[in-house]
Symmetry: C2
Subunit: 318 residues, 2 copies
Amino acid sequence: MQALYWNGKQARVTERPDPEASERAVVRVSLAGVCATDLEITRGYMDYRGVLGHEFVGHVESGPEDWRGARVVAEINNACLKCDSCLRGLERHCPNRSVTGILNANGAFAERIAVPVENLHRVPDSISNEAAVFTEPLAAAFEILEQVDIQPDDYCVVFGDGRLGLLISQVLHTTGAHVTTIGKHSEKLALLEARGIETQLLSNWEASPRQGDVVVEATGSASGFARAVSATRPRGTLVLKSTVADSPPIDLAPLVINEITVVGSRCGPFAPALDALARETVSVEPLIAARYALAEGEQALAKAGETGVLKVLIDCSG
Amino acid sequence: MQALYWNGKQARVTERPDPEASERAVVRVSLAGVCATDLEITRGYMDYRGVLGHEFVGHVESGPEDWRGARVVAEINNACLKCDSCLRGLERHCPNRSVTGILNANGAFAERIAVPVENLHRVPDSISNEAAVFTEPLAAAFEILEQVDIQPDDYCVVFGDGRLGLLISQVLHTTGAHVTTIGKHSEKLALLEARGIETQLLSNWEASPRQGDVVVEATGSASGFARAVSATRPRGTLVLKSTVADSPPIDLAPLVINEITVVGSRCGPFAPALDALARETVSVEPLIAARYALAEGEQALAKAGETGVLKVLIDCSG
């Protein structure tokens, strides 16, 4: 089959062996999405080798009979289900896990992908492939609601108007809390304004900062942490949603003095994400910036790496 | 009156004006304790000028009639009681507050100190002055129980066998949770072992680390944060209890990947601290390393600054 393969030096569309079902389901990939993590991997992150991609929607081609033919999305942490972490319900933190397209498991920029059956989720008919392909990053946004008890009278500040920031802003908005998203791109912020979410350009916010009860750092920039700390009220909560490759100098004293709680947040639950897509309480398709065929996978990665580009999709249906 | 005054360059015992009661109570100080923060102030922290010291016990000399003669300790954050923070019960985070011996309010290394009446707490007769003087730092340790829900089957790891680490370890131990304290000084760790708390030398822990559900960083060292992060299990809680003056390079990615919650923790509630002292569920007097008269205040600071010295007391009763 054709697949976009990362060999540690180059990401190339090439012929790769079809995945074997064994104890997994093989999914025929329809549509996949490029994530910042895919780009970080091509800069050395996780020292990964294999087929890239972990955001996708497709149809089960082989596997258990009751799944065959189903339109599905799949969680990306492939857990052992036997260790202490798994037994306490923390499968996404299983120390023995593989992670689709990131760690020891081939990814979704391919004609076919093998995934553990327990990671599959059926996609309701009302959700288009173009929306369903956002399930994984949207689940990562919903993870915040699993971790932080957000009240309707909370004032939430989201830093970042990139792919993840736009999804997080909408998810927080579903709680009824007041959300202000701070970004650098008025055309991206306009996507949120159309949903009734308040936005501010970073330069304006810096001139007149207002502290939040809950602040989310989703800029992916090294300087973002100190700014986000300063934007969090005493005893407030700061959610760290983006991983930054470098280790900037950080003054931790304000966390202690203002008794701020910092919550690291990664992958999330698929069920509320699919529910939000079905009920259209969040809007994802306006985030689509470009679409490429699998054969053009290298161009898709290059496009996704351009400044200011939102979601790039790869059509794997051939 | 005599007082240990910091003028920005030198800490000197000198004659200072007696405090005026006005809307405050004037307390005749019996005994005061030297804290790491006092030493940091003499290195420039907070740019403070005034009488040093914020840990003390004494008798109310003037003020409201029902307080006169009472043996008291006093909270150190002197709030405005009018602002948004105060009205939501966050007086310890009042942006207009003064802080005894730290920010715009003369401290306790003196014959007399003026404090807001609402900050006073009566000391039960069963508690000696030598124990009562620990109320403030013990309250800071109890703050952790206000912020983190510790379960009896939790495994807690405390880094640091200094003054605060020894108090924190005992406070966590009162919850019934399993506590291991990691330190560098076997003679200090022995104080905890005598209370039934498990201890480990840092070098042994590094050879065989075990991750905690709740980890407390109380070493006050810049390298402590990364070690404490590595000691926290996925989805676990890391309590930051010590402020470090410098800004070390910090990799925040492990917080995100392992979804760790970091809780900054500062001053705490006096009531549970006094209760613990009265019921002797914590033991503080073995932490006393030395005792000086107020006239020897400069030597007291010097002694407290020596490596490995636990609590230094200043007798202000003259």
